[in-house]
Symmetry: C2
Subunit: 347 residues, 2 copies
């Protein structure tokens, strides 16, 4: 066990994508819980695209992270000390616990208690965490796929996209993925069961490729990218199509604002809907979603990929890895072996 | 009574906005109904922006009108002969009866029977026709205004826009109109009861003007124009805002496709919805809507303006009038006095 609490903190505010040298690691005392708090020992730390926005000056949903702050991050771990009646020592939790070994937290920081002990705790940061919940609500509530419809998803092999595609298949849809590179296209087809996948890096004419893959038009589109993929989709949507806006990853910046073909006319002529959403808007239904996601994973219908790096010292460079596409699945940092799981296995 | 059936027909396919010289008038025999049909004698003919699209090569919703065809148009009149059990002589109907004195029609061409005999039949082509229904469903179903919210509407003094604004007021919203010219802005405030109205022709900075008129942000926007108004609205929408796309009148053409600031990012950050709609998608609820619209008119809560031109010979030049903004209210052509209404008054 560590002698103290290692924390990755923001040393300088990056201009663009955060790099390893924008962070440093310090060691502070292991916290003890104040009244109403409890201490979590993190087993896994998450690396998410949103972290870039949390650091940027133009942070959108959360207060921005200041130089000197421990980096905000989702993490999963075990309660090791508690002065809160609802959180007992030994319980597993996932939430905003930061890039550090230990955190003394309040209940508001917890996203969920992790009860599915037969599955790795790491899943609570991916397919059973924000990624899976985002796919679940964005697809089922926003895109509302009906059996037999054609569903398209961008970043189709990613942590969110691959769950979207597989859930759409579970719901009886024809699923077409848009992904970058031969490997990802192969993953979409062979691993995640897409009906077709398009390599946007290779296709010179995305619109034609999409038309070939979607001969009956597009009924629903889960958009992680904005940009050329969205533009191509809009030209072939069916009447009453639904477009869920989950992310705009194809643009590195929105200053100055990006321009493109106006979608209003497509939306009007096709009586279609384009809707942005945040997963946290569905917070009161997380357990419903987790219940379904867990059952699909146990049944082998919902597959996932994890890219687990070892040790907190890898953290500073990993936001950049994410934006470079250098990860093969949900990017995580493992801090320690899963004791709880190991003990469970023994009993 | 006329000796025959005067019909306005398409003489040449216009390049852009249809002009008077693109039409001619011919006289054909007054039709007699075939089995399953009935003959309507039109009292009012409608002039609608959609007519331009019906004529254009790139007609969107309907088959295009060919040179030689009688001009497709909404009209309202009385059944004068019938070989259909559901339509009796003397009933008033509104539907697609064409720019002509008489039409032998099938039930599919009827939009509704006009039962509110205490109101002018002409209203069935405006505030109690497609305009009112468009305002009703586009506002209440697509924009979903809640009491106390701020609702913005473009072409705010128009036949659709003025109904949108007044219904939003009836529903307890703060209503801000965008209109072109001093007269229309005055109408919005004095006649239709808007809380504020912005003259987009005069304001050099629409965004700032809108921000001043909507200090609490914008919760719902009924968009008749696309373009600068939509762009300015998008930058000040509130969380969970709803944008209904009803028309794109600020663009004369969509070839080549119009470009502009991308709305995806606004929709995402504000978890907002942009939805295109067609009134005909709500056809099974027309009578619910008409019932409410009629009661608001009778109660003096829903005002309307009509610009009634006399005689079928005015028809050819009126599509252009509409696009020039040369009309002061719903543009109509009166073919004859309202006999039914006059008779009612006698009894």
């Amino acid at each position: 066990m560590e002698e103290g609490n290692r924390q990755v903190w923001l040393k300088s505010r990056p201009n663009g994508i955060p790099q390893a040298e924008d962070f440093a690691i310090r060691v502070t005392p292991v916290p003890t819980p104040a009244e109403g708090e409890f201490v979590v020992r993190n087993s896994y730390l998450s690396v998410d695209p949103a972290m870039r926005g949390w650091i940027a000056d133009t942070s959108t949903y959360w207060p921005r992270i200041e130089v000197g702050d421990t980096m905000r991050a989702f993490a999963a771990g075990e309660v090791i000390a508690s002065r809160h009646p609802d959180y007992a020592v030994g319980e597993q939790v996932m939430g905003i616990f930061g890039w550090q070994d230990y955190a003394s937290v309040r209940p508001q920081q917890v996203m969920r208690k992790v009860l599915e002990r037969d599955l790795s705790l790491s899943l609570s940061l991916g397919v059973l965490g924000l990624n899976g919940l985002t796919a679940y609500f964005g697809l089922l509530d926003v895109c509302q796929p009906q059996p037999g419809e054609t569903v398209v998803v961008s970043t189709a092999a990613g942590a969110v996209g691959s769950a979207v595609g597989q859930i759409a298949r579970i719901k009886g849809c024809k699923v077409v993925g848009i992904a970058g590179g031969e490997d990802k296209v192969r993953q979409c087809i062979e691993e995640f069961g897409y009906d077709a996948a398009i390599d946007y890096k290779r296709e010179t004419d995305l619109e034609t490729a999409l038309r070939k893959a979607c001969p009956d038009g597009i009924d629903a589109y889960f958009d992680n990218t904005s940009g050329a993929a969205l533009d191509a989709v809009l030209r072939q949507i069916n009447v009453h199509a639904r477009i869920g806006i989950c992310g705009t990853a194809s643009f590195a910046s929105w200053e100055p604002w990006n321009v493109g073909p106006r979608p209003e006319r497509n939306l009007l002529v096709k009586r279609a809907t384009m809707r942005g959403f945040l997963t946290t808007d569905f917070a009161e239904r997380y357990e419903e979603a987790i219940g379904n996601l867990v059952s699909w994973i146990r049944a082998g219908k919902l597959k996932y990929r994890e890219d687990v790096r070892e040790g907190i010292e890898t953290a500073p460079g990993l936001i950049r890895t994410l934006y470079d596409g250098g990860n093969a699945g949900k990017l995580l940092i493992r801090l320690r072996e899963e004791q709880a799981l190991a003990e469970e296995g023994k009993s």
